[in-house]
Symmetry: C2
Subunit: 500 residues, 2 copies
């Protein structure tokens, strides 16, 4: 119950104007001053931080955030500008900024300015990709971009014969396999979808057995759990990649005592989280073919190498996968989220078909309104494809290849610097852009403490990984602006912070 109080004399004061919307005809005028405030707060926040991440560790950062926010939902509003200034400043002051070359722990990439700017348009217009009448152009952009990217991974389809619909000659040819991709929130959701599609494809033959290397992303066994499948079978990967002979043995064991076709899905990895290694995809595909197992490749990290003529050969065999995970928020310089699950033919997506009358009633679909609900497990869905489309157009094939090649070259350079330095041990030359190394001498506990000291001091963000039974520091280079000087700084910093 709201009690409206009117002053005893005179008329009530006029209500303040309603807060402006991000869409409609006045959107630009409403957004412009607010964006200025955001840009200013990004600048003041970065200056207050003064390094790749805030100093002081979790308790100090939480205390600063708590002090800045005060009451999360105050009785009366502070106004648009004060709220933006306060929260964006505190976010930036407390960020681990992936655009800082000393922030190199994770597959956490620095977005391109052009991609972040494009993302604003998605937020402002707020198309939702669950029905055509919420996203007319956005759904068309998504269809074109996902097909183009899937064709990069699987090759362009070769139509057989002239197109039977002469009025739509550039529509997908009905007699050719038609590579397609779903947009996801990331590799984790893409892997979930890959397992779900396999589960449904083999439903009649019994429960699906999922096999993966110990080097696979944690989301693979987690997806099996989520989907109610038997626990996934983990195959040891002592060398960091999945060995075809080990897969062969595991598949033989999984089929033992089960006559007839056994539903099997093998997930291989192109770009492991720990070391950036690529499983031998062609040889693994051969093994899968011999056993009648489906192959899924988690190329969340390594998949964009397909866009670089120099690095594409590393992915030989990728196109033999039933499905491919790809994250353009890793080696694709997009803001999160920009995940994809690609398949060699859109018919493989049929298990996701789903109906809800308010979104895709049969008579509407028959009357020509596109049915979008089968393109995701989500319903409401933001057009993450927009920033991808803008980036592809802005940079072009050669511009993207330049960023990919430059980033991989920076990792090679770091490896050379480490190898030449008496105070460090290099694990191995990098395959993509991940470099594992250790100070010498050190032990696992001291190495973990070194990493935390750098974090606590706000000086550098490095990751950790176990390889050959020992713990290593992990530098995941994703920033194409990183210079040799930055890499030397990183090593100097580390020399001064090492626990022995």
């Amino acid at each position: 119950m709201t009690i409206r109080t009117t002053p005893p004399h005179g008329t009530p004061p006029p209500s303040p104007p309603l807060p402006p919307l991000a869409g409609g005809s006045g959107a630009a005028d409403a957004l412009r001053p607010l964006l200025d405030t955001v840009l200013d707060a990004l600048t003041t926040g970065a200056a207050a931080r003064g390094g790749p991440l805030p100093a002081g560790g979790p308790d100090a950062v939480t205390a600063r955030v708590r002090a800045a926010l005060g009451d999360v939902l105050p009785a009366h509003g502070h106004g648009d500008h004060e709220a933006l200034r306060t929260l964006v400043h505190v976010l930036a002051a407390g960020a681990a900024d992936p655009a800082d070359p000393l922030c190199a722990a994770h597959l956490h990439g620095p977005p391109l300015a052009v991609a972040a700017a494009a993302d604003l348009a998605a937020s402002a217009l707020n198309p939702s990709l669950d029905s055509w009448d919420q996203a007319p152009a956005a759904s068309a952009i998504e269809a074109l971009v996902t097909r183009a990217l899937a064709a990069e991974l699987y090759g362009t389809p070769h139509p057989q014969g002239p197109h039977p619909d002469a009025t739509r000659p550039d529509a997908p040819h009905p007699h050719a396999p038609h590579p397609d991709a779903l947009v996801t929130t990331g590799g984790t959701e893409a892997n979930q979808l890959a397992l779900l599609l396999a589960r449904e494809r083999h439903r009649a033959a019994g429960p699906l057995t999922v096999l993966h290397g110990a080097n696979a992303h944690h989301s693979v066994p987690r997806a099996a759990w989520l989907l109610g499948l038997p626990a996934a079978i983990e195959i040891p990967t002592p060398t960091g990649t999945l060995h075809p002979a080990d897969l062969d043995a595991a598949l033989t064991l999984a089929r033992r005592g089960r006559p007839g076709p056994v539903p099997l899905l093998v997930t291989a990895t192109a770009g492991t989280t720990d070391a950036g290694l690529i499983d031998p995809l062609d040889a693994l595909a051969d093994v899968c073919a011999r056993h009648g197992a489906d192959l899924h490749v988690d190329a969340a990290y390594g998949g964009t190498l397909a866009l670089s003529p120099r690095h594409r050969p590393l992915l030989s065999g990728l196109d033999r996968a039933r499905s491919i995970t790809l994250d353009l928020h890793k080696l694709g310089w997009q803001p999160v989220a920009a995940g994809l699950l690609a398949v060699p033919d859109s018919a493989l997506l049929a298990p996701l078909a789903h109906q809800a009358d308010y979104l895709n009633a049969t008579d509407d679909t028959e009357a020509g309104l596109p049915d979008l609900l089968g393109r995701s497990l989500r319903t409401t869905r933001r057009p993450d494809v927009l920033k991808i489309a803008v980036t592809l157009r802005a940079l072009g094939r050669d511009g993207l290849a330049r960023l990919i090649d430059g980033t991989c070259a920076a990792a090679q350079q770091l490896a050379r610097l480490i190898d030449a330095h008496p105070g460090f041990e290099l694990h191995a030359p990098p395959t993509i852009s991940t470099v594992l190394f250790r100070p010498v001498p050190t032990d696992d506990a001291a190495l973990a403490a070194t990493r935390r000291t750098l974090l606590q001091g706000g000086r550098a963000v490095l990751g950790r990984a176990t390889a050959d039974g020992r713990l290593w520091l992990k530098a995941t280079l994703l920033n194409p602006h990183t210079t040799t000087g930055d890499l030397a700084t990183l090593l100097t910093l580390l020399e001064g912070s090492t626990h022995r």
Copy 2:
């Protein structure tokens, strides 16, 4: 293999500068001109559209998008500004803009300018909420905001006795239930999580049976399928809401012949998709308690009524739910995505606990680095909480209540206009902000055609729903700027477009 060609005479031309990043110290300077281009393209695109959605229907929109894009991945880039101008213009020209009062079909809300501006900071800094060292401040903001919102739904916890840790008196009290919420991509993911938590809670007692009204969101039975559960049991809801006696009968049937505790989850709805109705939550909670069934409430649409003193009583009984779905991209004016799953105590989230050494190694967690992996099924995760935090602070409790109350009042006003108009039949006075109505005379096929005619002409976006065995037009009002004049325009437009 790249072959580098050097001009025969002289030095090679210098490489163009690398495209700028959205983070780092030069971010504001890099972003500002690009944002100007985005704002200009939003303006030119909206002008080209000239209405709530583009004219011509799907084929025309797709043709325009295809023509504008040409080659999705050109050999050479078009540059940042050209790409933004082209794609943002075509997106805006082909948008169904929820900020237009005649765009009122779906739970597809117009975002506030302040929320869209805040979202830019999330895209630019790109924190990822899967480990503290990718999101130091963002993870602290998320913790504060999710607890505050959960406390709005469940009530503030009442600590029992003094806090045992005198150094952290404002940390959650260990002896009080501590409402908490997970940030999701929307109601669909929140409902999936609710079913998953129930599945795991009851794992030892056998497979979970999910029961829901026919009025429930389609994502509820789809989640049961996703999670490998038995098919969900649908209870008819001829009046539009789930009747307690019908639930009682369904639970009795589900338990028949199964002695001992039976794992049961009932999902009720606060704000149905079709009619915006609210199930009788208190009475349903009583029935669930009698049968030992858990209650989940999908309040994706209606949940924010809790923030309005005037409307909060409609949600009586909500706090008896084991979990609550809430979408702030519906009646909360956020850009997609802004979903939540709230629980009365964070201990209920334990089934999501998950470990991946590179993100939450035991020694790191013991050394004080927060463990974030158990707060989502995603791994990489964008801080959708930032725009929510900014909006709560900018508007405050009274500012949000004003928007909620104003939007509900607009729906009441539309219902009055329809009721007073001889050419239309009102289904029922709205509970939240959804109005079902029909032109008279009409039939179902003509009504569906009327809706498609408005879409095809780019004149209005209305939804459809079946109630009492007939098809109705659905106006879902979510725009607080909608005036009585806009509503009158909508009816006038409809009069001139009705198929009879």
